[in-house]
């Protein structure tokens, strides 16, 4: 039985709806706040988003592999205090602290990955443990907010490159490009396979444990990078972890269309999800929403965004059934 009917058009990936929502919110916000339609305004917006987007990207990889990772805020805190204590004390401190935080993040990720993949611990609980340990390490390095971040990091990374492109936007662009290339590699496809059905993947010969290990390690590196950008935003170190930020990271991933059960989604959606959460704050402010209503709106908008995403998944499923022959990979990945 060959192709029955021509497909009426590929259904959009679930991140498309997140993208729509984000654009709509952005449009309303910019209409309400004309002073934000400047390069400075857009730069500010991107600066506000970049840390959440990087952390959400890292978390996406782990969630795609059907695991959970609570340690993002811990690694971010450690990276932040490392940059704040070392970047001004070492020569070419900006670059050295960058490598250092990526290494630190990688190590934390490797520890997580080893615990989850090889010792077979439950990822929720053991990454909760590593988060608490990371927070402890951050407090040992810097016991109160302070420290100093190197001028290059603080000024250039929050500014524009060549006076036109915001540096944060460039970094996000690199992340998205990297993802588009990565997801077509063997490792990228392996992550989806492991997330969809790890037993079947193992039986077909995929190295499930190795894949999970690498996934956690990459996520850790992403968190390290997020902590580096946090140092750029705040210009200082702070050993405390923000529990609300942790929940925002998960919300960004879920709103972006990645299924928390694994196997479906992508980094693009998470970056968009981070954008939604950031613009939402600005939008609620611009609309003049009274202070305690912001919490209620936060909650409602998160649910609505997920509902949108869910509807798209149902649409995708229905279209897949209708058109008969389908190409699996294109529906699952974005």
């Amino acid at each position: 039985m060959n192709q029955a009917t021509r497909e009426k058009g590929r259904p959009l990936p679930s991140s498309a709806f997140a993208g729509l929502l984000c654009l709509a919110m952005l449009a309303i916000y910019l209409l309400k706040t004309p002073s934000a339609i400047t390069l400075a305004g857009i730069t500010d917006l991107l600066n506000n988003t970049v840390v959440l987007a990087l952390a959400a990207s890292g978390l996406t990889l782990v969630i795609l592999a059907a695991e959970l990772d609570l340690s993002s805020v811990g690694v971010i805190a450690v990276s932040n205090v490392i940059v704040a204590t070392l970047s001004t004390k070492l020569p070419s401190g900006a670059f050295i602290s960058l490598t250092l935080v990526c290494l630190v993040g990688l190590t934390a990720g490797l520890v997580n990955g080893w615990l989850v993949a090889f010792l077979e611990l439950q990822s929720l609980a053991c990454t909760l443990g590593t988060m608490i340990v990371c927070q402890g390490i951050a407090l040992l390095i810097l016991e109160a907010p302070g420290g100093e971040v190197d001028g290059f990091i603080m000024n250039r990374l929050t500014d524009t490159v060549f006076g036109v492109i915001p540096a944060a936007g460039l970094i996000l662009g690199l992340v998205v490009t990297g993802w588009l290339l990565f997801r077509r590699t063997r490792l990228g496809i392996a992550i989806y396979a492991v997330g969809t059905d790890s037993v079947a993947s193992r039986l077909t010969g995929l190295n499930v444990k190795g894949t999970k290990l690498i996934v956690f390690a990459l996520a850790g590196a992403a968190y390290g990078l997020a902590g580096y950008m946090l140092s750029a935003q705040t210009g200082t170190g702070d050993p405390r972890v923000s529990n609300s930020f942790l929940l925002y990271v998960f919300a960004a991933v879920a709103i972006g269309g990645t299924s928390l059960g694994g196997g479906r989604g992508g980094i693009i959606g998470s970056v968009v999800g981070a954008g939604i959460l950031t613009v939402m704050q600005k939008l609620l402010f611009a609309l003049g929403v009274a202070e305690f209503y912001t919490n209620i709106f936060n909650g409602v908008i998160m649910v609505v965004a997920i509902l949108f995403g869910n509807l798209s998944a149902i649409v995708a499923l229905r279209q897949r059934v209708i058109t008969g022959r389908h190409k699996n990979s294109q529906y699952a990945r974005q």
Binding site: A24, A27, N48, A144, P145, R240
Partner: protein, 403 residues
């Protein structure tokens, strides 16, 4: 299905665009003033915010300013984003509770460069262009520790109740208190925990430590004092402690209770009070309206200091005639008596700090000249040095070390 979603999106967008856009005032000459809270949902923050809101609605300020409250939450990047939003919306003055002494410096600098007046209350920032109003420089740690040592005669067992770890306040006060306690070899700290300024947590932890050290003589706290004392009263009612801490109404009543004092309860009621918010607001407004020019950027709000003998129960709704505590049942036991300040904030009444409504018939009274604060590096200034005696008490004279 997809068409339905498109329609829904368009409908939502249309509704939102056409919503009332009150933020851009209709040509009034009112100043836009914002209150930016970070933490919310606890007694202290609520009382401070209510005080500020009540003052903002008290004549003549209610006609002079357009006042709005924003809650940024506990994520520092959200606070940065909100401050940028406020500046973009045309704020003339912002009073805020900063989440970090250093992380907001850049955005505050940007705001100040655009002509916005930025004031902080209680928690401080190190940005030189901002104004800090706080009693963090009033040496709470040294003074209360010395007071306790004096009452204990220089020896005894102490429980140390830290605040929230990783904050500049906790680091400063802990440093001061430890410096004093270490001078007296007879003073032993037998247990310490992080009460996180939370009364329930403090009560739990003190019960556990008390069970292991039944001869504890004193408890040093910054907050969570009521809970700490409750633990002692419930577990060792016949032998109470020397305790230093907050100014909760219930705690002050217990301090002055003639039934508890013979059991050994000696308390000092101090610690940062929510009225600092209202005071900072009034100072900011006076600067905004040109009535005052500040020569320094760090203003010190006096440290509350009430001992058992100073406690006087109020008969009405205000702190007048020297009274400083409400009778039991009039307010919840955790109500902070330092939400009211009869000297600097006569416009505030009990109802004002509980609901945020202005006191009927009150008008804003002028403030005396402010007292400027000393330097605390990392707290309210960047390139500065602390005074040489920064760890010494300045309200209590130390007793000599016993042999």
């Amino acid at each position: 299905m997809r068409r339905f979603q498109w329609c829904l999106t368009v409908a939502v967008v249309f509704t939102l665009i056409s919503s009332d856009n009150r933020l851009y005032g209709q040509g009034d000459q009112k100043y836009k003033v914002f209150l930016d809270m970070s933490y919310s949902g606890n007694t202290w923050q609520a009382a401070a915010a209510n005080g500020i809101k009540a003052l903002a609605a008290t004549p003549p300020y209610d006609k002079t300013i357009e006042f709005k409250t924003i809650i940024s939450g506990t994520d520092v990047q959200k606070q940065i984003s909100d401050i940028q939003s406020m500046v973009a919306a045309g704020a003339k003055a912002i009073i805020l509770y900063p989440l970090s002494p250093t992380a907001l410096n850049r955005v505050i600098q940007q705001a100040c460069n655009k002509g916005v007046l930025v004031f902080t209350y209680d928690s401080t920032v190190t940005e030189p262009l901002a104004y800090n109003v706080s009693n963090i420089t009033a040496r709470y740690g040294s003074n209360t520790a010395q007071w306790m040592v004096n009452k204990l005669g220089g020896k005894g067992e102490i429980i140390f109740n830290h605040g929230v770890a990783g904050t500049a306040v906790t680091k400063t006060y802990d440093e001061q208190a430890y410096a004093i306690f270490r001078k007296y070899p007879g003073i032993k700290i037998v247990g310490d925990f992080y009460g996180n300024w939370n009364d329930a947590t403090s009560q739990e932890e003190v019960s556990k430590i008390l069970a292991a050290h039944p001869n504890v003589d004193g408890i040093w706290t910054v907050d969570g004092t009521y809970g700490s004392l409750q633990a002692v009263i419930k577990n060792r009612p016949d032998r109470l402690v020397v305790i230093a801490g907050q100014s909760n109404n219930g705690y002050r009543l217990m301090m002055a209770d003639p039934a508890l004092q013979p059991k050994g309860l000696q308390g000092i009621s101090s610690s940062a009070g929510p009225a600092v918010g209202g005071y900072a607001f009034k100072v900011m407004m006076e600067v905004l309206l040109g009535k005052k020019k500040l020569t320094g950027h760090n203003v010190e709000y006096p440290l509350p200091w009430v001992e058992a003998k100073d406690v006087k129960v109020c008969s009405g709704d205000r702190f007048e005639n020297g009274c400083n505590v409400f009778p039991e049942g009039k307010v919840p036991p955790l109500f902070l008596d330092t939400s009211l300040d009869p000297k600097f904030l006569p416009e505030l009444s009990l109802d004002a700090v509980q609901t945020g409504n202005p006191t009927p018939g009150a008008t804003i009274q002028p403030l005396p000249e402010p007292k400027y604060a000393e330097n605390l590096p990392g707290i309210n200034c960047q390139e500065c040095k602390a005074p040489a005696d920064a760890l010494e008490p300045n309200l209590v004279a130390p007793i000599p070390v016993p042999k």
